[in-house]
């Protein structure tokens, strides 16, 4: 398979994730869509690593996984904190900081 196919698939997945962030309102689903975008980036990194023929891109992908895990932990912590304070889990209702 040409490497191009992987890169185009990755940009398609990235666009789907971005669209999800624009459409959805539940913070959990927005985090899931963020995961989609991060994984699309990972796919592109691994595809480029294969294209160049060295493994450094794969190390990048692993570091991206670490960052994604951190983002999930903090994001889910925020969601649990919101839930405990009986705030609505809807990003359009949480607009106090929006000026």
């Amino acid at each position: 398979m040409n490497v191009e196919w992987y890169v185009v698939l990755s940009s398609l997945l990235f666009a789907i994730g971005a669209m999800g962030i624009l459409v959805r309102r539940s913070p959990i689903v927005i985090l899931l869509c963020l995961e989609l975008m991060l994984n699309a980036g990972n796919l592109a990194l691994v595809a480029f690593s294969r294209m160049v023929g060295n493994q450094q891109g794969q190390v990048f992908a692993i570091v991206v996984m670490v960052v994604a895990a951190c983002e999930v932990v903090v994001g889910l912590g925020l969601i649990v904190a919101l839930f405990r304070r009986k705030l609505p889990l809807d990003v359009d209702a949480l607009r106090e900081l929006r000026g």
């Binding site: 698939l9 992908a61 969601i79």
Partner: protein, 169 residues
């Protein structure tokens, strides 16, 4: 054979991604993301990166998704109300997504990377196995490796501070 596997995995990944965006119940969204992650692991295997594929399945589809499942179960996976706070959002967002896809494709395919249109160079048998990745992580990329461990620690502490009992006061 490789093409069949690629298209099967790509279809799985696309179906999972669309499922995450389209399904109203967050719990089904989590399940769709697991399908997506497994398909991506197959794609990583096709790209000769066995270690990243294994980490994808164990860390992502295993640990991270279990965390999501627990939080969805705790918060209660209520379906979203269907009202439209921004008029035209549901029509505008797919349009913007399509525009982003076209833009990204043009940007990547229009770049003058020499290996575009090839399958990449032939690689040795051990390409992407844990030995090579581990050597890179502990020699060339030692500093980013340590920095990411500090990042993980900070995230764990931050989550405890955010969601811990004391925060209720």
């Amino acid at each position: 054979m490789e093409a069949v596997l690629f298209f099967a995995a790509a279809l799985g990944a696309l179906a999972g991604a669309i499922g995450v965006v389209a399904l109203r119940n967050p719990f089904y969204g989590v399940l769709a993301l697991i399908v997506h992650l497994f398909s991506l692991a197959v794609l990583f295997l096709l790209l000769e990166s066995a270690f990243v594929a294994a980490a994808q399945v164990v860390v992502y589809a295993g640990a991270v998704m279990v965390l999501y499942a627990f939080v969805v179960a705790y918060v209660g996976g209520e379906t979203e109300p269907a009202f439209d706070p921004i008029p035209g959002q549901r029509f505008l967002a797919p349009l913007l997504g399509a525009a982003l896809f076209v833009e990204l494709s043009i940007a990547v395919l229009g770049s003058s990377l020499v290996a575009l249109g090839t399958e990449g160079p032939d690689v040795k048998a051990g390409f992407g196995d844990p030995v090579g990745i581990g050597k890179l992580l502990l020699e060339r990329f030692l500093l980013p490796f340590e920095a990411s461990s500090i990042l993980l620690l900070l995230a764990a502490v931050g989550a405890v501070v955010l969601a811990g009992k004391r925060g209720e006061a």
